[in-house]
């Protein structure tokens, strides 16, 4: 299949997604819920791109390339939608995400600093029962990456998405924490988390040593 990404022709195998084609052409498309280790999910709406003839922007991670498709990764409508989505996500967090996180990198890409919306923010809720893994529920953006890493990379099936809307999040086991769940402590969830909602105690301790406030527990 031949497609054009930002004017550059690319030949890809049938079934290749727009995101994969763009990456092979060396074009950056921001993502939040995507991780190459897992099947595409299409939840975060941050990888939106324009395509000639398409009625609306497309999610690059889940849309397969079609013959002669012309994709514009810099499409203004797509950018506006994606940026607004990221801004909404940020507006729920009690504090800006750590600079090293993927969420912070995506926010920088869209030039979002302080969100314009000053509504209700999530309250810190931490679970530090596991010897390595730390849960910071308030930072969860429901991208589903941890749940899918647990299912599709490890196969422990220990994590579940819970709640709705503002109250959505993830839980280990039946809210019993990692240790009493089927968790095998592989850490794939922490590895994939784009916000540090799941991270390591040692990394939190390191952050608090620098800033003096990383440990909000």
């Amino acid at each position: 299949v031949r497609v054009e990404i930002d004017g550059q022709p690319v030949d890809v195998e049938p079934g290749t997604t727009i995101l994969e084609a763009a990456q092979s052409a060396g074009r950056y498309v921001p993502t939040l819920c995507f991780d190459e280790r897992m099947a595409p999910f299409g939840a975060c709406r941050v990888c939106m791109v324009g395509a000639e003839g398409a009625a609306a922007p497309l999610a690059a991670c889940t849309t397969p390339c079609r013959e002669d498709m012309r994709v514009d990764t810099t499409d203004e409508t797509s950018r506006r939608i994606a940026a607004a989505t990221v801004e909404l996500v940020l507006s729920e967090l009690p504090e800006p995400p750590g600079e090293h996180t993927e969420l912070a990198a995506v926010a920088r890409h869209f030039g979002i600093d302080e969100p314009r919306w000053q509504g209700e923010r999530r309250r810190p809720a931490h679970d530090r029962r596991h010897p390595y893994l730390a849960l910071q529920h308030e930072l969860c953006i429901s991208c589903g990456r941890c749940v899918r890493a647990c299912d599709e990379v490890q196969g422990a099936f220990a994590l579940t998405a819970t709640g709705r809307g503002f109250h959505s999040g993830i839980t280990a086991g039946l809210d019993s924490g990692f240790v009493d769940s089927t968790c095998v402590s592989c850490g794939a969830c922490a590895d994939t988390c784009p916000t540090d909602a799941i991270t390591e105690h040692t990394l939190l301790d390191m952050a608090s040593a620098y800033t003096g406030n990383g440990g909000t527990t």
């Binding site: 402590s185 794939a188 952050a207």
Partner: protein, 696 residues
């Protein structure tokens, strides 16, 4: 990129033999975090609770940070010069009085290829003995022996990628989701996507829940099971006739032998229902692409090496070798079980398993090292201990191995260590074995050294130092080359890379291996001079005379121990997810919180018969010794059998294991020990209450 870390080093995991590539992140002079390399060929962006998290041991307060020498019943700190001077004096004196063969050395399957090569060179060239062995003796030496006899080379025939390419995988005596977690995860994911699994183990392992058939054979009856599978393959016309005719030898003798192994006869011996055996044979032999994976449940038996040959028979019968998706994959227990043996840390072979009596090989090494060597093999590990007790072995140099904790027949091992005139231990912690040392040298962990490990796929991968050794501890490369110099043999290497250059020069199958060529993905030996590697062995012919694979007609023989009236149960030992072997590393990490003590798995029927309750502490007694531990009642084990691990010195499971060993390789029979359970009268304390669930 916005990084929290001062530096990130890509290296290779030092725990099991899967060979995960890791990114070690350093901050403030210590390892702050470890994450999986996305492009690791074995791990593909994943790792496990050990590789990712269990790294705090490397900065544990009780790391050895300076040499220790024995003085008036205890140890005192010493300078490197004094410690090495003592070694040179003692070894010189013993060599002069008793000859070089009164000294023996153990290299380590935890150490790099370069360290192991330097160690065997030190023993052979600086001391002048072939008394060098390594801990693969007690795990996969039977695999190595058998693969060489059946196919020609000592290594997996393919790669982990063959698991996803296969239609069927047969798992025998291996529990990957516990022992090799990343490969376990790969198998589980493949099974979810359609790979059909056949599992064979005295325990109903987790992957059995994702499989088609589980064969719960009695411990020690693997040979009957494997011959039974071969019987069904032949009886039901599932043989790959063309493959057998063109590429193998010895079919008729095998067919004659296995004729008696009817499913019904095999059920008598193994307790595996005849119909399950038939179903398993059909699944394996009907697949176009099928892999076999095995572990220490096959090898650590009296006839373990023969059983590996019987596994090879199945692959030869069905043509399931030498093609993508049709691999034989022994899962290696330690990070460098493959490499330590590949690189000559064995009493009978130089690099690439070339015998010390091979004149052209031996003279090439002699010329390179400027020494002359005997053409007779040295002692294997159990022979060393016997010789120490007998008085002919006077000194040992033990590098990275806690034999007093991990080797069988512990009492005999301790007696051997006590009998030595002089013992050197080179390790990162004091352990059960260092208690008997005269000099203890502080060494480096895998996070502090440079070199290569060879994983279970024959993949030679780079190890790079992510941190410095603590205190005045040194890298093993530096220690061994310095000791060798003090013994009068200058090796002339500046870096571990120089060592690999010498190995490549002297070893045709490793001719193209250079550190600078290994890159991020490593190379699978054999490696041609131009750097071309070999993911799949035997695509056209086997590495044996005539190029043909050799069938082995070997009958079932009973194991070295059997249940009787006094010892009515059979103990199987193995590994658990959270810990690693002697536990020296993992017990110094948060993994101890995840699993803080060992337990004995007992079937509900046996528990009822003995009146045992969950959590009750019992005395487990064998013909050799006894230990105490709490009981867990579980249907995952077959009635008549009990299981525990060997990670805790508090339990010292190996006190129970006798001297029975593999007939060809002396690998101990850890997997079949007759035992009796008696109530110990005390209860284990209640688990500690969890901390508050959520704080805000």
């Amino acid at each position: 990129v916005t990084s929290r870390f001062d530096a990130t080093t890509t290296t290779t995991c030092g725990y099991c033999g899967v060979g995960c590539r890791l990114e070690a992140h350093r901050a403030d002079g210590r390892i702050a975090s470890i994450s999986p390399a996305m492009d690791g060929p074995a791990n593909k962006g994943h790792t496990c609770v050990k590789g990712r998290f269990a790294h705090q041991f490397s900065r544990s307060r009780d790391r050895l940070t300076a040499p220790l020498v024995r003085e008036s019943g205890g140890f005192r700190l010493a300078s490197w010069d004094e410690a090495i001077g003592r070694i040179a004096d003692a070894f010189g004196r013993i060599k002069a009085e008793h000859g070089p063969d009164a000294i023996a050395g153990l290299a380590s399957s935890r150490a790099t290829n370069e360290d192991c090569y330097v160690m065997q060179r030190m023993m052979r060239a600086a001391i002048g003995t072939h008394n060098i062995d390594n801990c693969s003796r007690v795990c996969h030496s039977p695999t190595s022996w058998a693969l060489r006899k059946s196919f020609g080379m000592s290594g997996a025939t393919g790669s982990f990628d063959d698991i996803e390419a296969a239609q069927v995988a047969l798992l025998i005596g291996v529990n990957p989701t516990q022992g090799h977690p990343v490969v376990g995860a790969r198998i589980k994911q493949a099974a979810i996507k359609g790979l059909k699994l056949v599992t064979a183990d005295p325990r109903r392992i987790e992957l059995a829940d994702y499989g088609e058939v589980h064969l719960g054979m009695r411990p020690g009856t693997n040979a009957a099971l494997l011959n039974g599978l071969a019987h069904v393959v032949i009886r039901d016309g599932l043989v790959d006739e063309r493959f057998v005719a063109e590429r193998t030898e010895g079919y008729d003798a095998l067919a004659e032998l296995v004729a008696a192994y009817t499913p019904e006869a095999v059920e008598e011996i193994t307790t595996v229902p005849a119909a399950d055996l038939v179903a398993a044979a059909h699944l394996y032999a009907s697949a176009e692409r099928a892999c076999i994976l095995w572990g220490l449940g096959v090898t650590e038996h009296r006839y373990g090496s023969e059983c590996v040959r019987l596994i090879c028979n199945l692959a030869l019968l069905t043509g399931n070798v030498g093609r993508p998706g049709s691999a034989l994959l022994p899962l290696r227990g330690q990070n460098n079980v493959q490499g330590s043996s590949d690189h000559g840390a064995l009493p009978d072979t130089f690099t690439d398993y070339r015998h010390v009596s091979d004149e052209s090989v031996a003279s090439a090494f002699e010329e390179r090292w400027g020494v002359t060597m005997k053409r007779e093999a040295g002692m294997k590990i159990p022979e060393m201990f016997d010789a120490a007790v007998g008085g002919s072995l006077k000194a040992m140099y033990i590098f990275g191995e806690d034999v007093a904790q991990t080797d069988p027949n512990t009492e005999h091992v301790v007696h051997a260590l006590e009998s030595l005139d002089f013992l050197v231990c080179q390790d990162i912690f004091e352990n059960e074995t260092t208690k008997y040392a005269d000099v203890i040298l502080p060494a480096s962990s895998f996070l502090e050294k440079t070199g290569t490990f060879t994983n279970a796929e024959r993949r030679v991968q780079l190890v790079e130092a992510a941190n410095d050794p603590p205190g005045s501890a040194k890298t093993d490369f530096e220690i061994l080359t310095t000791v060798s110099r003090a013994l009068g043999h200058e090796m002339g290497y500046e870096t571990p890379s120089d060592v690999m250059d010498e190995i490549a020069e002297l070893t045709p199958r490793y001719a193209g291996i250079r550190h600078e060529r290994l890159g991020r993905g490593g190379l699978q030996w054999p490696v041609a001079p131009d750097g071309t590697d070999t993911p799949i062995l035997y695509e056209r012919e086997f590495e044996l005379p005539g190029g043909r694979g050799q069938f082995a007609p070997l009958p079932y023989k009973p194991p070295g121990d059997a249940a009787d009236e006094e010892f009515p149960l059979i103990l199987v030992t193995g590994r658990r997810l959270e810990h690693y072997n002697a536990g020296t590393m993992t017990r110094r990490t948060g993994n101890l919180t995840l699993m803080s003590a060992d337990w004995l798995e007992v079937h509900p029927d046996d528990a009822a018969a003995l009146g045992l309750t969950e959590g009750e502490t019992v005395t487990l007694r064998s013909r050799r010794g006894q230990v105490k531990l709490p009981v867990q009642i579980t249907g995952r084990i077959e009635p008549g059998h009990v299981f525990t691990a060997f990670h805790f010195p508090e339990v010292r499971t190996n006190l129970l294991i006798g001297p029975s060993a593999d007939v060809n390789t002396s690998c101990p029979e850890y997997k079949v020990v007759a035992v009796a359970i008696e109530p110990a009268g005390d209860r284990i304390s209640e688990p500690l209450a969890a901390e508050p669930a959520v704080s805000a």
